[in-house]
């Protein structure tokens, strides 16, 4: 379980995350939903340990973010952190060296399913293809938590379905998947639970089916209603 307790993160004077508490259980697909600048990425970076909170605490299976949590969290960041001069096959080697839980066979199978040439350099791939490579690397680890920050932002709608299929088929049942996105209608059917974030605050955490039942609307519509400008 990921437990966030009264976490605040301030940049200069601005509260990017404002007294947030939430729990993320195992075995669920969770949508972290918010518009651009709502605090999604900051919250994720606090969970992955890339940022430390000014106040409050983050615990991953009882441990503070650090060496241990890095082995249980597989994180797809918004920005590509890989060396653009590397060939994909070299990146696979690098991942294998770096992450003990990396399943190389699986990664190759998935890359093939996306028709990605392993001999190409990252630099020579389109934005969408780069994102697919990142996604494949992230879900080819046998982790307890998969955190996917905007995994479908840069790919065309036709490829989104294939990416969702890949996510649905490839994580183990006890793991949790956290997907942050503003493209709600594309992913809402695969979510167990939704978390709405706005101006650094969690405004809602609820079971997706319960929410539909209560409000008789799609998650996408509910989100639009709640955050009307």
């Amino acid at each position: 379980m990921i437990e966030i307790k009264n976490v605040t993160k301030t940049f200069n004077e601005l509260k990017a995350i404002d007294n947030v508490s939430l729990k993320i259980e195992k075995g669920k697909i969770i949508g972290l939903l918010g518009s651009n600048g709502s605090g999604k990425t900051t919250l994720i970076k606090l969970i992955t340990g890339l940022l430390t909170p000014n106040e409050g605490s983050v615990l991953i299976d009882g441990n503070k973010p650090g060496v241990e949590s890095k082995t249980v969290i597989s994180y797809l960041s918004e920005n590509n952190a890989l060396d653009l001069g590397m060939r994909i096959i070299e990146i696979l080697n690098y991942y294998q060296d770096f992450f003990q839980d990396f399943d190389r066979e699986k990664a190759i199978k998935l890359l093939n399913s996306f028709d990605i040439d392993l001999n190409k350099k990252l630099r020579n791939l389109s934005k969408g293809t780069k994102e697919k490579v990142q996604l494949v690397l992230t879900i080819s680890r046998r982790a307890n938590y998969y955190i996917l920050d905007e995994p479908i932002g840069g790919v065309d709608p036709a490829a989104r379905d294939h990416i969702l299929d890949t996510i649905l088929t490839n994580f183990n049942e006890d793991a949790s998947v956290i997907i942050s996105t503003h493209l709600i209608s594309d992913i809402e059917k695969i979510l167990d639970e939704v978390i709405f974030i706005n101006k650094g605050k969690i405004t809602l955490q609820e079971d997706a089916e319960k929410l539909r039942e209560e409000r008789n609307k799609s998650i996408d519509m509910i989100f639009r209603e709640d955050f009307k400008c």
Binding site: K28, D165, L168, T169, I190, A208, R212, K217, S218
Partner: protein
């Protein structure tokens, strides 16, 4: 086969309905093995736990059953499937009649319309 899912309503009842329909129309026949939760979830592109809930409901209604370690199967009791078919036909017919009545048609007019369109 395509899954039409309306995201503004609860998803699991729609999954129950779709799978029931497939059993009634013989896409999955009595005694057939049906896809696993994961396979079904992928096919419908829905959350596996939501699909699990739908399959549990079908199992509670004895429409499907689980053979341990082998998988899930359509009931071998033809009466259950017949009853399902009847209740679905009734439901659709009643809905149709009510809609027609809401539009101001009387029974004679409704019957006339059906006959006209059946030709």
């Amino acid at each position: 086969m395509k899954w039409e899912i309306d995201e503004s309503k609860q998803i699991h009842p729609q999954l129950v309905e779709e799978i029931t329909k497939r059993i009634i129309n013989g896409f999955y026949k009595s005694g057939d093995k049906i896809p696993s939760v994961r396979e079904f979830a992928l096919e419908a592109r829905v959350n596996p736990n939501t699909m699990q809930k739908a399959l549990q409901e079908l199992e509670d209604k004895k429409i499907i059953y689980t053979k341990r370690t082998v998988g899930k199967f359509v009931t071998e009791d033809p009466n259950i499937i017949l009853k399902l078919q009847e209740s679905m036909i009734d439901e659709i017919t009643i809905n149709f009649i009510n809609t027609m009545k809401d539009l101001g048609l009387n029974e004679t007019e409704i019957t006339k319309k059906i006959k006209e369109k059946l030709l």
